[in-house]
């Protein structure tokens, strides 16, 4: 695409990968179809198709990212040359690469499908393609011998197609398409082992809870479409679904505030559901019923960030709708803040390692939301990027532990402990990722999470900065606990080689299967575990772990604010510029001719660099003043907190406190428990004694725990968990029950009696009348005659009366 040239000779470069980015989701989509139809006949049961498609998507995304970087460079360098005076001006807006083809039409308007490539989309594309590839490779080993091996890869591939399709959506309808496909795959994958009711119930719960949020997506899209369509058609020649159109409309100052607010609230409800924010987060921990690679891909690193992505994608809508720049509390930041704390507290009381990670994910998503709500767009997006690596790594490590260390158990208290010696690689990757998650300098999490906290404070949201710091402390503490329980201390249960079957989910699958010859393999491998005890996982599992751990170490450097501006690559390449852009005449694009439907290829050709000559507007970016006629802007001017070591030191100290105190506690609590047990039991014997002894011990242990881990944490966590299980879950269940009962009642009493009764009643009435008249038809001629003549007589009488 050629930028409209004004005074300067700046041409935004483009490239094959950028122009053909639509191939990125199409490849896995095709692979999905192939796996479904031919997967079972392939030598590797279709998994090779999945892995290959993901790798090629990764190559395409990588190529596009490379060309995008060049494009940004070409624009930025050009802009620098073009600036005559060194006056401060807004960051240049690099035109996204957009292609749309007609997908459907209504009322004469054409609506498109296509791609919209910019820094944000590319970040997600690369992350999704990358993590998907690794997870699929990992699954080759992890699910080896599963009875629905092919189905699993098909669903994973379809998921990636859906997510990629959503990420590069140029309009809301395509975004909804990808969004819902992800929901479907989430349903299929959580319920992968649907023989057990708990799994299928979790799958149902996940789909249903997210679907409740999706109401908001439909309604929000409707509100925004009808409010924006006239403006976008007039000014940009695109529909009110178009994402850049919506952004420009929101920033134009001509948008109705109520439409913006309602639209933003409705869309945010969808984000709450999808990204597991309070109070709709309850589905996410249950979703851990799915296989671990699924938890790693869908429920931590990619799918659940879709909600965050939506907010980041339509940021101007939320910016204006929620007044992010003007207030110091709004809906998004509030929900994000609550989520951080609620989820982090819950992570303390879990026995299941995956549930700890699940609550941790919820909490980290809360960080992203809080960041977006407080105007920290870039740190939030960067946190999506870094979080994907270390959280995926944590989940895959947990999977590796259960696969090779704890005999398919995820119970940290029962079946783990002391695994660090037996599984050195897994333990190392886990610990690196844990430190990255906790935000230890210079690992990935530090650069993103700390930036969020910093910017939240800088944006004036002081209370939420404290929430963020509290969250950082909690994160460090609960992750230390999980690490200690899994890898240190004494070996317990399966980790110690003790074989107990009751919890073993995989055995059940093997036992019920009679069709699949691979199950013998599973049984064999189980026996092998029983024989050899815990051991390191094979290469197909450890290599992805190591790659992810390496990224958890280094990914943060891609936007290392502390080291100066030259390290802030994300800021340069991902954050959209907030300058005003001239609405150009729609330049005919070379691809327009290729569009066989002859419909418009929506190309917002704009004078990217024209701004340099416009003295007036170069001074300030968007959202400071409304753009002038003929100018639009696509992104608000967000502020960036200047980095200060003093602030970073504070948060680092808090993190260190969390790590150390939690570690000390764990050592005291878990390893030296025997010593303390004696002391406590003696005291308790006096008080209670007898059978409740054990129970009392546990109770006091919890009390003890409270003293160590900031005494109040535990009761609140308990309360939160109680609220979570009883009130929030109870409302969901209760609503289900009530509506079932109501439905039953309505059906029985109204449908079957009243409405149906009226119909049946008219039939009965006709029958009754017939029955009453029956005796008249006696079959006797004389009676008929009598009737005839009497009727005639009466008729005559009436005639006579009338005529006289």
């Amino acid at each position: 695409m050629l930028a409209h040239e004004m005074t300067s000779e700046v041409v935004a470069s483009t490239g094959w990968f950028l122009e053909h980015a639509w191939l990125i989701p199409v490849i896995p989509a095709i692979a999905f179809v192939l796996i479904i139809f031919f997967g079972k006949k392939m030598p590797m049961k279709g998994s090779e198709l999945g892995v290959l498609s993901m790798l090629s998507s990764l190559v395409f995304s990588g190529g596009a990212a490379w060309q995008w970087i060049q494009r940004v460079n070409s624009v930025v360098d050009g802009a620098h040359e073009a600036v005559v005076e060194g006056a401060h001006h807004a960051a240049p807006y690099v035109q996204p690469v957009i292609h749309e083809w007609t997908w459907w039409q209504s009322g004469g308007f054409h609506f498109g499908i296509g791609h919209h490539i910019d820094g944000l989309a590319l970040t997600l594309l690369v992350v999704v393609a990358f993590i998907s590839s690794l997870v699929q490779i990992y699954s080759l080993e992890y699910l080896r011998g599963d009875r629905r091996y092919t189905h699993f890869f098909a669903a994973l591939t379809l998921f990636s197609a859906g997510m990629l399709c959503m990420v590069l959506a140029p309009n809301m309808v395509q975004l909804i398409l990808g969004w819902e496909i992800m929901g479907l795959c989430s349903f299929m994958l959580i319920g992968h082992w649907w023989e057990e009711e708990a799994n299928s119930r979790a799958a149902l719960k996940a789909f249903f809870t997210v679907r409740v949020g999706d109401m908001g997506l439909l309604i929000g899209t409707a509100i925004l479409f009808f409010s924006a369509n006239n403006w976008t058609q007039k000014n940009l020649g695109v529909s009110g679904f178009n994402i850049s159109g919506l952004s420009a409309w929101a920033m134009s100052g001509e948008a109705s505030q109520s439409a913006l607010t309602w639209g933003a609230v409705a869309l945010f409800i969808a984000c709450i559901g999808k990204s597991g924010q309070f109070p709709l987060h309850t589905w996410l921990p249950d979703a851990m019923a799915g296989p671990t690679p699924v938890s790693s891909l869908l429920h931590s690193s990619t799918m659940v960030v879709a909600g965050v992505f939506l907010v980041a994608r339509l940021y101007p809508i939320f910016w204006e709708g929620m007044k992010i720049g003007d207030t110091n509390i709004n809906f998004i930041v509030l929900i994000g803040g609550i989520t951080i704390v609620i989820a982090a507290l819950l992570a303390f009381v879990q026995h299941d390692i995956k549930k700890v990670l699940a609550y941790s994910t919820v909490s980290q998503l809360g960080y992203m939301m809080m960041g977006l709500g407080a105007g920290a767009w870039l740190p939030a997006v960067f946190h999506i990027f870094t979080h994907a690596f270390f959280k995926a790594c944590l989940f895959l490590s947990a999977g590796s532990v259960s696969h090779s260390g704890s005999h398919h158990s995820f119970d940290m208290k029962k079946d783990m402990g002391g695994l660090a010696k037996k599984m050195p690689i897994t333990a190392t990757t886990w610990i690196i990722s844990t430190l990255a998650l906790a935000g230890v300098f210079p690992l990935a999490g530090f650069f993103s999470k700390d930036e969020i906290i910093d910017n939240v404070g800088y944006g004036g949201y002081n209370a939420f900065m404290i929430v963020g710091l509290t969250g950082a402390f909690l994160t460090a503490a609960y992750m230390t606990r999980a690490t200690y329980l899994t890898f240190f201390g004494e070996a317990r249960g399966a980790a110690a080689g003790i074989h107990h079957d009751a919890h073993d989910a995989h055995d059940a699958h093997a036992a019920v299967d009679t069709h699949n010859s691979h199950d013998t393999h599973v049984v064999d491998s189980h026996d092998a575990h029983a024989d050899h005890g815990p051991h390191e996982s094979p290469k197909l599992i450890t290599v992805p772990l190591m790659i992810l751990a390496a990224l958890a170490l280094t990914a943060g450097l891609s936007n290392a604010t502390p080291f100066g501006e030259s390290w802030e690559r994300f800021k340069k390449y991902v954050e959209p510029g907030s300058e005003y852009v001239m609405v150009g005449s729609e330049t005919a694009d070379e691809h327009g001719a290729a569009d066989e439907h002859g419909a418009e290829v929506v190309e917002i050709a704009a004078a990217s660099m024209s701004v340099a000559s416009e003295e007036k507007v170069t001074k300030e970016g968007c959202a400071v003043v409304a753009p002038e006629a003929g100018m639009v802007c696509y992104f608000p001017t967000v502020s960036h907190a200047p980095f200060k070591w003093s602030k970073a030191a504070l948060s680092l100290i808090i993190v260190a406190l969390g790590l150390v105190s939690s570690w000390l506690f764990c050592v005291q609590y878990y390893t030296r428990r025997n010593k303390r047990l004696v002391g406590l039991t003696e005291r308790n014997k006096v008080l209670r004694g007898g059978y409740t002894f054990l129970w009392n011990k546990y109770y006091l242990d919890e009390l003890y725990e409270k003293v160590i881990v900031r005494s109040i944490a535990h009761p609140i966590a308990k309360a939160a968990y109680w609220v979570n299980q009883n009130i929030l879950d109870g409302i969901v269940n209760g609503a289900g029950k009530v509506s079932r009962r109501l439905a039953g009642w309505v059906y029985r009493n109204i449908d079957q009696r009243v409405v149906d009764g009226a119909v049946n009643g008219s039939g009965a009435a006709a029958r009754g009348t017939g029955g009453a008249l029956r005796p008249v038809q006696s079959g006797k001629v004389n009676q008929y005659g009598a009737l005839l003549f009497s009727a005639a007589a009466i008729g005559a009488l009436i005639l006579v009366i009338i005529n006289t």
Binding site: V776, Q777, S778, G779, K780, V781, N782, F789
Partner: protein, 99 residues
């Protein structure tokens, strides 16, 4: 006027006919009563025809006579058939049309 007497005669015949249709059980008697009714109508028609000085009534009376003949023919044939099948022509026994 003479026509009044004719009309009176017609009325009397009609009443006799009606009585016969209602009270008689024998199908042949009922048929004969119907004949009486038809003929009472004929008399009425002729009386009015004379009174109005037109021939319409005469024409109608001729029609009625023809139809009455056909009716008696068909009716008697039916009675004969019923008699053959059931050995009775009492109308009370013939209530197959009961609803």
């Amino acid at each position: 006027m003479l026509t009044t007497q004719f009309l009176l005669l017609g009325a009397v015949l009609f009443c006799i006919g009606v009585y016969g249709v209602l009270a008689r059980k024998n199908a042949v008697m009922v048929l004969m009563s119907i004949e009486l009714i038809l003929n009472s109508v004929n008399i009425n028609l002729l009386a009015f025809s004379v009174r109005h000085g037109s021939v319409d009534g005469n024409t109608f009376a001729l029609y009625v006579i023809a139809i009455a003949a056909a009716e008696v023919g068909v009716g008697l044939a039916m009675v004969l058939l019923i008699y053959r099948n059931r050995r009775t022509i009492a109308l009370d026994d013939l209530s197959e049309m009961k609803g």
